[in-house]
């Protein structure tokens, strides 16, 4: 098979690092370029010694110059902060290069909502209209035709997959949904900050950004589509002293008389063509380690009849399924491959 050339713009963060891990053994893609303004001129293994003697160790790190990158690549992964991403995306699209944007810049279709939550006016609203929300279980067909996909946020990936079927099928009320999420520290990025030092994170647990995390509108947008009405969600993120993994505990009020068995069956049916979503059998609840390094989204279902609530516990690996792995799935679809190509990693346990 002739491989297609792709580029990673922004290789020095954790999502860039994870893109390298996944793409390095991908049968359909060849990494043609990796960029980083601060490390340009080095070999990749000088930044990441763990890549020595792997297929990517000697890749030269170059500057993130769209003209240069576009010469060799037909698709580019943008692993840069929001607001920078929209500029780069626009340049690459004009140069005829497909874009998978891992930032938030193209996730929110309503530019006013984007401006409200991100404190920033969107500068490429034309391109925004073309962007497809890159959640393969729901938008595989649209993604396959897209020139730009907005790779979902890590929290929204875990939450949308958990609640979409229940809302779509009218199992639960759209009002009063609460999402209590917990993430490993890699979600906080690789920039040095006191708050993410080892001694500040280990052996502790905290909540942050309650009621104002920027992933909220993304969940609301997609879940509103599921139930056909505008919904509002209580979203509460927390920081877990671990590297990878997100667990979201989602609470919704039951709106139909159903048994737990029926709900489980309904979920299994909904996701029967999507092997990455694993609906746990009754009585089992997922653990983030079961999905470490993989594309799996594990769902544990609890019908609490005492309180009339459906509780869905959802686990993903925030860096793989919640970012770089999902980006590769989108790239696969955009390039005519199977969604799962190169993404059959097993969980690393223990």
């Amino acid at each position: 098979m002739i491989k297609k050339n792709v580029a990673i713009v922004g290789v020095t963060g954790y999502t860039g690092m994870e893109l390298v891990r996944i793409l390095s053994t991908h049968p359909g893609f060849e990494i043609a370029a990796v960029t980083s303004r601060s490390n340009a001129g080095m070999a990749l293994q000088e930044i990441y010694p763990h890549l020595e003697n792997t297929s990517c160790g000697l890749l030269p790190v170059t500057i993130p110059e769209p003209d240069l990158v576009a010469r060799d690549s037909e698709l580019v992964f943008l692993a840069v902060p929001h607001s920078k991403a929209m500029e780069l995306a626009s340049s690459f699209i004009e140069l005829g290069v497909k874009v998978v944007d891992l930032s938030a810049d193209f996730r929110i279709s309503d530019e006013k909502v984007y401006a409200h939550w991100y404190g920033l006016k969107h500068k490429h609203t034309g391109l925004l209209k073309k962007a497809v929300y890159g959640l393969p279980e729901i938008y595989a067909q649209e993604i396959a035709k897209a020139s730009i996909t907005a790779n979902p946020g890590c929290y929204p990936t875990s939450v949308i997959l958990a609640l979409y079927p229940a809302l779509k099928k009218g199992l639960v009320k759209p009002q009063g949904i609460i999402v209590d999420s917990k993430s490993g520290a890699s979600g906080a990025g690789r920039e040095p900050r006191t708050a993410t030092l080892f001694c500040e994170v280990t052996d502790s647990f905290k909540a942050y950004n309650l009621g104002k995390h920027r992933h909220t509108p993304e969940m609301e947008q997609e879940l509103s589509k599921a139930c056909g009405q505008d919904i509002v969600i209580n979203f509460s993120p927390h920081l877990v002293p671990m590297s990878r993994g997100i667990l979201s505990t989602c609470y919704a009020l039951i709106d139909k008389k159903v048994s737990q068995g029926e709900i489980t069956q309904m979920y299994e049916k909904f996701y029967r063509k999507n092997p990455w979503v694993r609906v746990m059998p009754q009585g089992r609840l997922p653990e983030t380690r079961w999905v470490r390094g993989t594309m799996f989204c594990d769902l544990g279902i609890v019908l609490d009849e005492r309180t009339g609530r459906l509780i869905i516990v959802s686990c993903i690996d925030n860096l793989c399924r919640g970012a770089s792995g999902q980006a590769v799935a989108n790239a696969n679809l955009m390039c005519g491959f199977e969604a799962g190509m190169g993404l059959d990693q097993q969980p690393l346990m223990p």
Copy 2:
């Protein structure tokens, strides 16, 4: 000051270990006996090498025989599993020894509720009627007169302190409360099990016992008293890869038009005589490490007007405030001391 003799029945678990830590520097209590059936005959420092050269290292471990223990002690801490505790408590009370029971046996005043959740008929319902729920911020006066106190569960301590004022003052609706709690692994005890091995817990996160954890009726009992009606709570515990600490995120629907500032003031006023409850200023959320090894209960308050919800984040140290420290506070009150005697530990940071 002449110290009062006390005994620890069941010293080999984490709550027994924590009782030793606290009592060893207590100005009013002398540890007269520590018991453990499996380790009787050893010196305490043979089980716990960290106690060498401390005041308690040479204490002999004896068998948990009430007659023997009662000879030297006027108060006993029961750090044994539920069901065993009720038998021992009854014996000690008959022998004229005061009891602080760290198990669940005397927490649920309705024996039917106890039987339902614990799968066990209560054998000492007479004594159950006399037992006082040992939460000093609410029941200090009753505790001072009690011969037996039921030391609150770790999760309920964090939750009741968080929600009591809001329910008491009618700030929130009694219906639809959700409590999403996260605990360190010491809450799972010191018995060897595969599920609590280091490699099974570290770098992972999970939910467990959703909708059926035994601490649920305890929260419901106390919070029902706060609002004057029977309430039902969604309680979801989770396991954090850390040793100590509980963080509970509590969600309730706002029932009064108030500002966040007013809620904070109301909480500060409610707890103004209780220095252990620290109401965070607006914009700050607690972290479990801030209370490590202490009696503090830190409360972060968020009024989410978008969704009409009050969110209270509550942090305690599950072993100190949530178990052994609180037990000592109860013992202090039962013996005529200040609640806080010997309990002014600073958090160990980092």
Copy 3:
């Protein structure tokens, strides 16, 4: 390619779990059987929920009966405790099945040394003579012809690869070698014990078995061959609060006037056909995370002229390179495959 059938005897420990992870994507091997006396009758994914929707999830767990296992498999991995392994190995060899033994039973060629360190008389000394020590960098040719290989211990793998070249080339004195090793907790196995509970291991560090760890004679045997004389080593293992990884710091007295650059070159030359051994450039020291989940052995070299010592720091993943991955490498060679088939995993970072 027609795959060869292999079996895993003893699938419920961490090395069994790791064998499943590696073999599940191996292009040349098919897992024909997995055994566990205690879990026989279950599907593998009932024991290991993380395997659902993977190629191995539905494998039936069977009893470890050699006759049954031998029907379908031409090679068997023994992931059982020592002393049990020698019996099983003998049975399988008699049934014409090749054996990779992950236990210590066939590592020590001198039965008296085995008896001394393991407190046990070897019962199959005939087979012991046939067994090849399965360290591919040194014994690839012998392994390729063997019917039984003794998979090296985790510590010895890290130590032999670190010191073999220096001793072979006479760079250092054979006397006075000190090896200070540090291992993650997965090396302690998956049996529930108080000492390996999360709360006993996390946020702490300890030494154990100083001067008497059973991996000592294995290192001495192989390194004696390297230098042509019987040597004695100080081996000190320690427990690190992490899951995977071994780092060994090896100290030897310089016996030749060489520069650090020359030593590095000599090591690079020695391992130039062995891509798994990565000799770090001067000034870089390895970290266990760089080899997580892989076959790499990273060597950091420091010539301390002030003290006349050569210090080699060696990192491996104890479960992959130090056990199951190396076992698969041996199986590859024994079956006529390339040593590295199916073993090109990238490190999982972070």
Copy 4:
């Protein structure tokens, strides 16, 4: 008792934080000032929310201006980087204020050795001559008379206490000593750096600065005094994924025919007036958690007759015993108190 006023110069690092923890319950000292250039003007609890409702929470943070600090304090703790410390120390001594310097500036009595290892000319060599090395077990009498003490480094504290008796008594050879040390991440300080982020430290282990760590000459200086000749040590520090704790494994060649029991007795005798040094009974090895938050130094002794080596394993809490606690012990002695005043903390377990 009338308390003596002391000041902490440099309160925003981990040693400053630990000084606050210890001094806040000290019966003889009152914290009169805490300084931090970057946080001046705030209350201490604004920087450290865990201090709310403790005796120190409302202390104003001021600028580190010697004239101002000297007005209210008779002793000052310098918790600032080396080279800055020597300037401040000189100013405070001139102002008649006693100094406990937690930096390295006054530890090395030979200014040439200081210049060589720290790449810096000492500017206050007169004061250097007056400074006493603040290890109470060895220099208690000199400390009591000193106006300035050089608080020992964390690694040297663990190593000197481990090897001093053996060298003093001629049990081991002064040549060929190897010290392999492992430290928690708090030793790396609180400045934000990529290398000390949670995700870079957790679940990993590494060596660093082999053969060139600046604590080396400090060990050599003190241990040379013990044996009466200049010695050279191989010192190898490593980073453990934990917050607090140092474990040093020290190797020396036996020079006298003695039994393990005799060595243990000799150590017990040497430290019999020093309750902080706990000599473990034969067969027991220390764990860093046993000393967490305390002044203890736990020594495990192994005589390895097979290799002719004495191995001493030494554990301390790097922040308490290895820095701030030891600084308070020195301050105690310099102010005429018992060395242990206010320092009887119990280990926080688990």
